[in-house]
C-alpha cells in the first residue's frame, strides 16, 4: 500500500532570505575550496535537518539547472585562452552537476541514495518527484530535497542575449536559489502534505488529484519576489508550504510554466483539521 508524503521542514536563502554568518561554520581549509553555492547548500540542508530532528536522511536528492557553473567557467576560461590562470583540478572535480549533492552526503555521512536532476526550469520538481515516489513506495522514510542555483555574470549575459524573455526588468532580475526541504512519511510535526507532483504535459492535465484547489501560486507570484533562475520554483514551493501550514488554504496548487519551455504542478495539502 502506498503511503502519504509530508514536508517536515524547510530552509532557504534567496533575495529575501539573507545568507547566515558562515564564520566558523566550516573548517578554514575546507571553506577555501567551497564556492558560495556550496556553503549555502550545506547551510540550508543542515537547518532543514535540524528543524526536523533528523540527523541523517535516507536519501539526498538535488535539483540544479547549471550545477557548479562558476567552477565550470573557472576551469573553462584558461582552456579558451580567456585567462592565464593554471588549470586547477579542484575546479574540474567540482564542475560535475552532482558535486553539491555529494558534498552534502559527505558532510552528513549519508551513504544512502544520492541523485541529482538537471532538468532546466523543473530541476527542483524532478528531484522532488523522485523523493516523493520513493517515499510513497516505501523505499525510504526520509529524504532531503534541495534546489541550488548560482548565476555568473557570463551566464547572465548569455541568457539576456539568447535565452529568456523579460529578464531585463527589475522584477524579473536574474538571481540565485538555495532551498532544502525534508520529506517524511510521518505526519507528526509536519508542515503539510505533499499530495501530488506532475511534470511536463501532465502538469496541465486533469490527472492532478485535486480538481479545484483553494490556493494558487504561479511564477507571476514568486518571480517578482525572488528573481529568476532555473530553481526559483523551489522558493515558490517554500512559500506554498508556509501558506498551507499557516492554514491560509486547504490545499494549494503551485504552477511553474518556465518560459514556455517546461511545466510542472505541485499540490500541497493542509494538515489542519486532520
Amino acid at each position: 500500500m502506498e503511503r502519504k508524503v509530508y514536508i517536515k521542514a524547510l530552509s532557504r536563502i534567496s533575495l529575501r532570505h539573507p545568507d547566515p554568518d558562515y564564520t566558523g561554520m566550516f573548517p578554514v581549509m575546507e571553506a577555501r575550496r567551497m564556492s558560495q553555492l556550496m556553503k549555502r547548500a550545506l547551510a540550508v540542508s543542515k537547518q532543514a535537518l535540524a528543524l526536523s530532528d533528523v540527523t541523517v536522511p535516507d536519501a539526498i536528492v538535488t535539483g540544479t539547472g547549471l550545477g557548479c557553473i562558476a567552477n565550470t567557467e573557472q576551469f573553462l576560461r584558461p582552456l579558451l585562452g580567456l585567462s592565464d590562470a593554471p588549470l586547477r583540478p579542484t575546479h574540474f572535480m567540482q564542475s560535475t552537476h552532482n558535486t553539491i549533492s555529494s558534498l552534502i552526503a559527505i558532510k552528513l555521512g549519508c551513504h544512502g541514495y544520492n541523485a541529482t536532476y538537471s532538468q532546466g526550469g523543473i530541476s527542483f520538481e524532478s528531484a522532488l518527484l523522485d523523493a516523493f515516489l520513493q517515499l510513497r513506495l516505501r523505499m525510504v522514510d526520509t529524504a532531503l530535497v534541495g534546489a541550488f542555483e548560482e548565476m555568473t555574470p557570463d551566464y547572465a549575459a548569455m541568457l539576456e542575449k539568447t535565452g529568456w524573455s523579460g529578464v531585463r526588468t527589475d522584477d524579473d532580475r536574474l538571481s540565485e536559489t538555495a532551498a532544502a526541504m525534508l520529506l517524511t512519511a510521518s505526519p507528526d510535526g509536519a508542515l503539510c502534505e505533499l499530495a501530488d507532483i506532475r511534470l511536463g504535459a501532465e502538469a496541465a492535465s486533469t490527472t492532478m488529484s485535486c480538481p479545484a484547489p483553494t490556493g494558487h501560486l504561479t511564477r507571476a507570484d514568486y518571480v517578482p519576489l525572488y528573481g529568476d533562475n532555473f530553481c526559483v520554483s523551489a522558493l515558490g514551493a517554500c512559500d506554498a508550504v508556509e501558506r498551507v501550514a499557516a492554514g491560509d488554504c486547504d490545499n494549494l496548487l503551485l504552477e511553474n510554466d518556465f518560459h514556455g519551455k517546461s511545466r510542472s504542478s505541485i499540490l500541497f495539502r493542509s494538515l489542519c483539521g486532520r
Binding site: I60, G65, L66, G67, T72, E73, F75, L76, L79, L80, L87, R88, P89, F92, M93, Q94, S95, T96, H97, N98, T99, S101, S102, L103, A105, I106, L108, G109, C110, H111, G112, Y113, N114, A115, T116, Y117, S118, Q119, G120, I122, S126, D130, L133, Q134, L137, Y155, M158, K161, T162, G163, L199, G200, A201, E202, K261, S262
Partner: protein, 377 residues
C-alpha cells in the same frame, strides 16, 4: 502482482561499430577503439582515447537523413532510432518516456554557442525528433549516470505511468574533459589496464547507447530483466573513492538480496584502470563475498564512455551472457589489487544467466544493477 521491468531492444554506437551486435563482436574478437592521440582537441600532451571519426559519423547521419544537429544530439538520435525500430514501438506516444544520461553534454560549446549548453536543451531536440511532446528526463550523476538512468527508468515503469521507457546515454569528448582528467593526473598515456599491477590511469571514450525498457507481469524468456538496482554514496571524498569501498559494497549488498552469487555469470565492474578505483572495487567485492565470482571490465575496449557507460556495458554484458561468454578484460595481465578477485583476462565460457553491472563516480557515488535472463529462475 509485482511487475517486472525488462529490456526489449538496444543499440550501441561507438568507434567500434554502430550497432550492439557490431560492438559485441569487437569485444569478443579483442578489438579496441582506444588509440593514441596527438594534438587532438588542441591538447599538447599526448593521451589515449576511443574517439569517433567525425567524418564517418557525419556520413552515416547524412545517409540516415539526420542533419542540423550537433554531434552529441546526432549520436543520441542515431542510437535511439536503431533501438526504437528494433523495439517496434511508437516513440511519439505519451505512454513512452525518454530518459537521457550524460555527464558533460555539450560542455565544449560553453565557449561557442552558449544557448546549446544545457543538456536539457539537447535532450529536448532529440525527443522532439522522435515526436515526443514531453521533455525527456535528464540524469547527470557523474560516472554512474547510465545506471542511475536505468534504475530511475525502472521505477518510472513500475509506477504504471508509462508502458515503455527509452533510456539513452551519450558522451562526446572535449578539451574540457581531457584537460580536466589530465589536471587530476588520472589519464593514462597508454591503453588502460584495468586491475593490472602496471595500471596508471584511464582512457576516455565516446559512445552513445540506448536501451528500451518495458513492463509486464513476467519477463519474456528471450529478454533480460532489470531485477533491481541501488545507488549508494561513499560520503567520503568529492572525487576519490572510499578506502573501504563503502558505497559500492552497500549497493552490491542491496542487489545481492535478490540473488545467490552462485547464479552470477560475472560482475561487470567499473574498472577504470585508475589506481584508486580498481583497488576500491576489489575491497567492495571482497566485502560483498564476491571474490570468487568472475569479474571483467570493458574500459580497455571502449575507454571510459562516462554518461553512456552504464547502458553500453550492460548491453555488452547481456549479449555476452546470451552467447555463454564472460568477456576478457583487455589490458589486464598481472593482478594489481590487494584483495583477491577473479579477474577474467581472456574470454571464458559460462552457462549462467545473471550478472551485476557496477559503476562508481565523482562525489563518491556508486551504483549496482542486477540483470537476470527471463525464465532463468
Amino acid at each position: 502482482m509485482k511487475q517486472k521491468v525488462y529490456a526489449v531492444a538496444g543499440n550501441i554506437l561507438s568507434p567500434l561499430g554502430f550497432t550492439a551486435e557490431e560492438n559485441f563482436r569487437a569485444v569478443v574478437e579483442g578489438r579496441s577503439g582506444v588509440a593514441p592521440q596527438e594534438g587532438t582537441f588542441g591538447i599538447p600532451e599526448p593521451f589515449c582515447a576511443s574517439l569517433f571519426d567525425r567524418g564517418q559519423v557525419a556520413e552515416y547521419a547524412a545517409a540516415e537523413g539526420i542533419t542540423g544537429y550537433n554531434l552529441f544530439e546526432t549520436l543520441l538520435i542515431l542510437s535511439i532510432r536503431d533501438a526504437v525500430r528494433r523495439a517496434g514501438i511508437d516513440a511519439a506516444s505519451s505512454r513512452v518516456a525518454f530518459v537521457i544520461s550524460s555527464i558533460k553534454g555539450n560542455v565544449e560549446e560553453l565557449g561557442e554557442d552558449e544557448s546549446e549548453v544545457p543538456v536539457t536543451v539537447s535532450a529536448g531536440h532529440v525527443a522532439a525528433f522522435f515526436g515526443q511532446n514531453a521533455a525527456p528526463l535528464v540524469v547527470s550523476n557523474a560516472c554512474i549516470s547510465g545506471l542511475s538512468a536505468l534504475i530511475h527508468a525502472r521505477r518510472m515503469l513500475l509506477s504504471g505511468q508509462y508502458d515503455y521507457v527509452v533510456v539513452a546515454g551519450a558522451e562526446v569528448q572535449s578539451r574540457f574533459i581531457v584537460s580536466g582528467f589530465q589536471s587530476l593526473k588520472a589519464l593514462s598515456p597508454e591503453p588502460c589496464r584495468p586491475f593490472d599491477a602496471e595500471r596508471c590511469g584511464l582512457n576516455l571514450g565516446e559512445a552513445a547507447a540506448t536501451m528500451v525498457l518495458a513492463r509486464a507481469e513476467a519477463c519474456p524468456p528471450d529478454c533480460w530483466e532489470l531485477v533491481d538496482g541501488a545507488t549508494r554514496n561513499d560520503a567520503n571524498h568529492i572525487s576519490g573513492p572510499s578506502r573501504t569501498g563503502e558505497g559500492s559494497y552497500k549497493a552490491l549488498r542491496y542487489v545481492l538480496a535478490c540473488c545467490d552469487p552462485e547464479e552470477l555469470a560475472f560482475v561487470n565492474v567499473h574498472g577504470t584502470s585508475t589506481l584508486y578505483n580498481d583497488e576500491m572495487e576489489s575491497i567492495a567485492l571482497h566485502r560483498a563475498g564476491l571474490s570468487d565470482v568472475p569479474l571483467n571490465a570493458l574500459k580497455g575496449f571502449f575507454g571510459h564512455t562516462m554518461g553512456a557507460a552504464g547502458i553500453l556495458e550492460s548491453l555488452i554484458s547481456m549479449q555476452a551472457a546470451d552467447a555463454g561468454i564472460v568477456p576478457g578484460t583487455l589490458g589486464f595481465g598481472k593482478m594489481g589489487v590487494s584483495y583477491p578477485v577473479n579477474v577474467c583476462a581472456a574470454n571464458r565460457t559460462t552457462d549462467k544467466h545473471a550478472f551485476i553491472k557496477l559503476l562508481s563516480g565523482f562525489g563518491g557515488c556508486n551504483a549496482a544493477l542486477l540483470f537476470r535472463k527471463g525464465g532463468a529462475r
